[in-house]
């Protein structure tokens, strides 16, 4: 399990990779939560890039729920993008599709929430 970040203007893209289960959910939580501290209305927005996430168990999903609540409490936005097919199905079966706005690409998510971030993204990745 690996968490990395990239910034595009006012949007922080947090990428989680590998497998998240009950044994490393705490680690995932510790890696993810600090990135949410700056989010909120008029401040950062956060996009979760799950394109490299192979598997997530209920333990990891619970961390995502805590993250979503945290962001919502700050009037921020937390979006999920590029779910692999298995993760997508896990989201559907667990009803986490009702918790997160899910987009097919980082670009699509940025287009939805921040033209500035989209411009920054497109200039960085030709």
């Amino acid at each position: 399990m690996l968490v990395t970040t990239k910034r595009y203007a006012d949007v922080l893209v947090v990428a989680a990779a590998g497998r998240i289960d009950y044994q490393n959910a705490d680690e995932f939580k510790a890696a993810l939560m600090p990135h949410l501290e700056n989010c909120g209305a008029g401040r950062d927005q956060v996009v979760l890039d799950l394109s490299q996430l192979d598997y997530i168990s209920s333990a990891g999903l619970r961390v995502l729920m805590i993250a979503a609540k945290e962001v919502r409490a700050r009037q921020g936005k937390l979006l999920a993008v590029t779910l692999q097919p298995v993760v997508r199905e896990i989201f559907e079966i667990s009803r986490f599709t009702l918790v997160f706005d899910i987009f097919d690409s980082v670009q699509e998510a940025l287009a939805k929430i921040s033209p500035l971030a989209l411009a920054a993204y497109e200039s960085k990745s030709p």
Partner: protein, 319 residues
């Protein structure tokens, strides 16, 4: 061991509505349109083999009561929800009211949906029967007495003709009761609940209802993996979706299909049977959750396969 489900609904007994029956008949007749079904047996075969379970049957609406049949003379039950009424009638019809019997009951906890069948449990009204109610709660007897007290019920507990005993079990300890090995385990639920691991003839059945799991708590999770370890069957509280269980219904004391599959995979359980169905869910909804859960097991399977089913009133599983 033969497991019979007499009541499988969570929280409150429910019944299918007039509209629900009509929808099933319309769907069944639509499916039969153009088919040349003439005899009773042709129709029976069509209903049994070709209609989806949620159309041809119902999951039922009685609250928790599960029978563990080990082929012994004594009877074993988990919980006394409204399903216990049907069980009682069944036993009376089978052996006749004159033949006395011993009934061992294992109580997960004393929430109303798990005790409300007892005032209508026919064996309690027949002298010569012995009913032994086992549980880990200190106030077990008091709760049963209170349920029979005026003004809520007309027959006082002390007037029940059967001999009724209460036996306190210690959680985490293996007990041998009338030839059945039983190990209770403390579970997370308002007022505490207990799961039971039953062992007999080399087979293991776990009854674990009204139990909330904290998926990201590795220590608690490991405790349940050990409790479920290598079981032939786990009867599991899968009342909510995971998203509900960890958000709006957090600390409501129930679990989800997702956590059930994960625990059974980790514990290498052979068969997961989802139980304590949400009263709001109709047959079609329970069937679709089952289908999704079967799919979840497939896409997350390692080197061990877990069979998935959803309990219905009248279901039997032999392990």
């Amino acid at each position: 061991m033969r497991i019979r489900f007499w009541g499988t609904r969570g929280s409150l007994p429910v019944s299918i509505t007039a509209g629900g029956i009509k929808r099933k008949i319309v769907e069944a007749l639509l499916a039969a349109a153009g088919r040349n079904l003439r005899t009773g047996s042709e129709i029976e075969a069509f209903v049994e083999r070709e209609l989806p379970f949620a159309v041809s049957h119902t999951y039922g609406g009685n609250s928790s009561c599960v029978q563990i049949d080990i082929g012994a003379e004594d009877y074993f039950l988990c919980d006394l929800g409204t399903g216990a009424r049907l069980f009682g009638h069944h036993v009376m019809a089978q052996k006749g009211p004159a033949a006395p019997g011993t009934f061992h009951v294992f109580m997960s906890h004393t929430h109303w949906d798990h005790i409300m069948g007892f005032p209508f449990f026919a064996p309690a009204y027949i002298a010569g029967n012995r009913i032994v109610i086992h549980g880990c709660h200190a106030d077990l007897e008091q709760v049963f007495r209170r349920q029979h007290a005026a003004p809520c019920f007309p027959v006082e507990f002390d007037r029940l003709p059967a001999k009724i005993e209460f036996v306190r079990l210690e959680a985490g300890k293996r007990h041998r009761i009338a030839g059945l090995e039983v190990t209770p385990k403390l579970q997370l639920h308002s007022g505490d609940s207990y799961g039971y691991r039953f062992e007999h003839g080399g087979k293991v059945v776990v009854y674990s209802t009204d139990s909330e799991h904290k998926p990201d708590d590795a220590r608690l999770t490991q405790g349940f993996v050990d409790f479920f370890r290598d079981a032939d069957l786990v009867i599991f509280d899968a009342m909510y979706s995971l998203a509900d269980a960890v958000s709006v219904r957090e600390d409501w004391g129930h679990s989800s299909n997702i956590v059930g599959v994960e625990l059974c995979q980790l514990a290498r359980v052979k068969h997961l049977c989802m139980f304590h169905h949400e009263p709001v869910n109709d047959d079609a909804k329970i069937a679709s959750v089952l289908q999704e859960t079967v799919r979840l097991e497939e896409i997350t399977r390692g080197d061990h396969t877990v069979r998935i089913s959803s309990a219905y009133d009248g279901m039997e599983i032999v392990v």
